[in-house]
């Protein structure tokens, strides 16, 4: 794992303007899907992006892959600003940055065979000329599929197998960074594990950098080095995995962690104390002033409504277990407070 910064995202914004009719008036409004986020991904590193539905995770992924153009901010890939490149200028980037999609059903063209799905990227980028078929078979093997299935249609595969095809497609161009937008959310637990294992294996073997989007904290914890927690288009807490899981400081991160049901309850561990949030996520069209989380926050005070808390270094740079550890840990709350034990420790012996 070298220390080379692969991707640097600074103050990224994506607003979707739209018109809405309110009574007799036509109002212009914007969905602030992503509203100023910054993060970096180093080579071989995995960044997890978590947050509730609609907080802007997919939008971020689409911006980073440049399937969408940011409203503001910048994206640098290997030091090159790719924020506003035109489609034809993006060719190189298209090779280096790939995406794995959430839905294994809709992300494969039902009209193409596996073979043609996998040769398309090779052809587009002129890779392995003349030996495309061989390369496709390699790829299939790499993701654990039978190379003989090259002439099958996606409909003839199960969800897990399809997701593998999607992964193979992303790998075909030999990218440096893969953005995986909820790659396992649509899969069943038993299959999910298969795919996660595959991703981990590939990451390690090919030294890939990942941005891993998910809402399942367990999966993220399993897979990522760093985690960014998003809420309504903003990053509220960002840091090394350990810090986030073991010493979360932002109330939202804490709520998220505590809300996840825990199977360990069944193993005799007392159910953790759950932080109950009231109300629903506000609309990104009209986000609350100041701190966006304040409407659901139990710690909210006047200042939260007036000032937007900046993303700053976490106060207590200590881990739950009392050992001091360095590493990245940023949070954005006016009243940060370390809360440990939100995640139960598992007893390894049965």
């Amino acid at each position: 794992m070298s220390d080379q910064t692969l991707l640097k995202v600074t103050d990224l914004q994506r607003h979707f303007p739209f018109r809405e009719v309110q009574g007799l008036k036509m109002v212009r409004a914007t969905v602030r899907a992503v509203d100023g986020i910054s993060f970096t991904v180093k080579q071989g590193q995995t960044l997890g992006l978590v947050g509730e539905s609609g907080c802007g995770k997919s939008t971020t992924s689409r911006l980073v892959t440049r399937l969408d153009e940011p409203t503001a901010g910048s994206i640098e890939f290997e030091g090159r600003d790719i924020t506003h490149l035109k489609e034809h200028q993006l060719r190189g980037i298209r090779r280096d940055v790939q995406m794995i999609f959430q839905d294994p059903y809709s992300s494969l063209n039902p009209r193409h065979t596996v073979g043609s799905i996998l040769t398309t990227p090779l052809k587009v980028h002129g890779l392995h000329k003349g030996k495309e078929k061989q390369r496709v078979q390699e790829l299939l093997e790499l993701v654990g599929l039978n190379p003989e299935h090259i002439n099958r249609y996606p409909s003839e595969f199960s969800g897990g197998q399809r997701q593998r095809i999607g992964i193979a497609r992303a790998l075909a161009v030999e990218p440096k960074l893969i953005i995986a937008d909820e790659p396992v959310s649509a899969l069943d637990v038993s299959i999910q594990a298969q795919v996660m294992n595959l991703l981990a294996k590939l990451r390690d073997e090919l030294d890939l950098a990942f941005i891993f989007v998910a809402h399942d904290l367990g999966v993220v914890r399993h897979f990522c080095d760093q985690v960014a927690v998003m809420y309504l288009g903003k990053i509220v807490e960002y840091g090394d995995k350990k810090k986030i899981y073991e010493a979360p400081e932002h109330p939202y991160t804490q709520a998220l962690l505590s809300a996840a049901p825990d199977i360990n309850v069944a193993r005799g561990i007392a159910p953790k104390e759950r932080i109950r949030l009231v109300g629903d996520v506000p609309s990104p069209i009209d986000p609350p002033s100041g701190c966006r989380f304040r409407t659901r926050c139990w710690k909210a005070q006047d200042v939260c409504a007036q000032q937007e808390p900046p993303l700053v270094a976490a106060e207590a740079d200590i881990s739950t277990r009392g050992r001091r550890e360095g590493g990245l840990h940023l949070q954005a709350c006016h009243f940060p407070e370390v809360k440990t034990d939100l995640v139960a420790e598992v007893e390894h012996s049965a």
Partner: protein
């Protein structure tokens, strides 16, 4: 809502305008000579023809005619005729070449006939189509379903004008089962009765496609989760079908209805011709025979307006049926 309607109206207006311009160019610029149509073949020396042309205003440059026609539409225009100047106020469609009557009057006076015919036909095809469509959907896969679908297919496959002609001839003329058309001036009841036969046949034939639309739409909504929810509430099946199923199945039918207005008007054209209903369609065909351009233009405009307005109404109705439509 208001803004939406205004915007839609503006769009509709642009469509109607474009229709008018293209129709004008089509008809007036086309190599046709309405004067010839008015001049009997055996007695038509050239100077007579020129006189008729001049009297119709067709001797002036096309650009001038175009300008006059369109200014007539928006601000009205003056006609000089037999030494008199007559003002024709906006929207002025001009005067019929043939009857010398105001096209506005000619068409508006016939408008009710066409509209009543269309509405009666619509009542027929909507009720027949919807009822049979629902019946078929509910009995999907049974013999009854196949019968309904089959019958509607067969009905739709026979050339309409042949069917209409048979109806016009046998039940109406020869057997006297159904009354003939009589104008509104001879009593509204008789008028309605007279439209029964044409409306029935037009409605029945049109209903064929509505049967299928309804069936498909119904099948689709019946497979929706919310219908399952409705059923799980233990409410009577009838309520499930109509309040939950059909209510939602209606919007696609409504959309198609909007799109179909143009075809319905085509249908009235042929129907009016065959049943001798004195409506816009028949007048238009007449106008074609005599190259009566102002009347043809007028009826193009009128039909375009009807279609556009109906689509607007359908759109608004759509939003009434479906609360999700935010009209934006």
């Amino acid at each position: 809502m208001l803004i939406y309607i205004l915007r839609r109206l503006a769009l509709a207006l642009s469509v109607v305008l474009a229709t008018m311009v293209s129709a004008f160019l089509l008809f007036f610029a086309a190599p046709s000579d309405p004067a010839l149509a008015l001049c009997p073949e055996s007695k038509c020396p050239p100077e007579r023809l020129a006189q008729i042309s001049a009297s119709l205003g067709l001797d002036r440059p096309l650009r001038q005619q175009f300008f006059e026609y369109f200014s007539g539409l928006f601000v009205g225009r003056d006609f000089t005729y037999a030494g008199d100047t007559v003002h024709c106020s906006a929207p002025c469609l001009g005067f019929s070449f043939l009857t010398r009557q105001s096209v506005n009057d000619e068409l508006f006076s016939r408008f009710p006939n066409t509209v009543v015919l269309a509405i009666m036909a619509a009542i027929v095809f909507v009720t027949v189509g919807v009822v049979t469509g629902i019946a078929a959907a509910v009995r999907r896969g049974t013999a009854a379903d196949r019968l309904i679908v089959g019958a509607s297919q067969v009905l739709g496959a026979i050339p309409y004008y042949v069917l209409a002609l048979l109806v016009a001839l046998y039940p109406v003329i020869l057997w006297h089962v159904l009354p003939q058309f009589s104008p509104m001036s001879e009593g509204f009841g008789r008028f309605l009765l007279g439209l029964l036969a044409p409306a029935l046949i037009l409605g029945l034939v049109t209903s064929a496609s509505y049967t299928r639309y309804t069936r498909n739409s119904m099948l689709e909504t019946l497979s929706m989760d919310y219908v399952r929810t409705a059923r799980s509430k233990g409410i009577p099946e009838r309520t499930v079908l109509f309040q939950h199923g059909f209510r939602a199945a209606m919007s696609p039918i409504l959309t198609i209805l909007g799109l179909d207005i143009a075809y319905l008007l085509t249908g009235t054209l042929i129907t009016e011709q065959i049943f001798g209903v004195d409506g816009i369609g028949r007048r238009t065909i007449q106008a074609f025979r005599s190259q009566d351009l102002p009347v043809i233009m007028g009826s193009v405009l009128m039909t375009a307006v009807i279609i556009v307005v109906m689509n607007l109404i359908v759109d608004i109705g759509y939003s009434l049926v479906d609360p999700r439509v935010r009209l934006s």
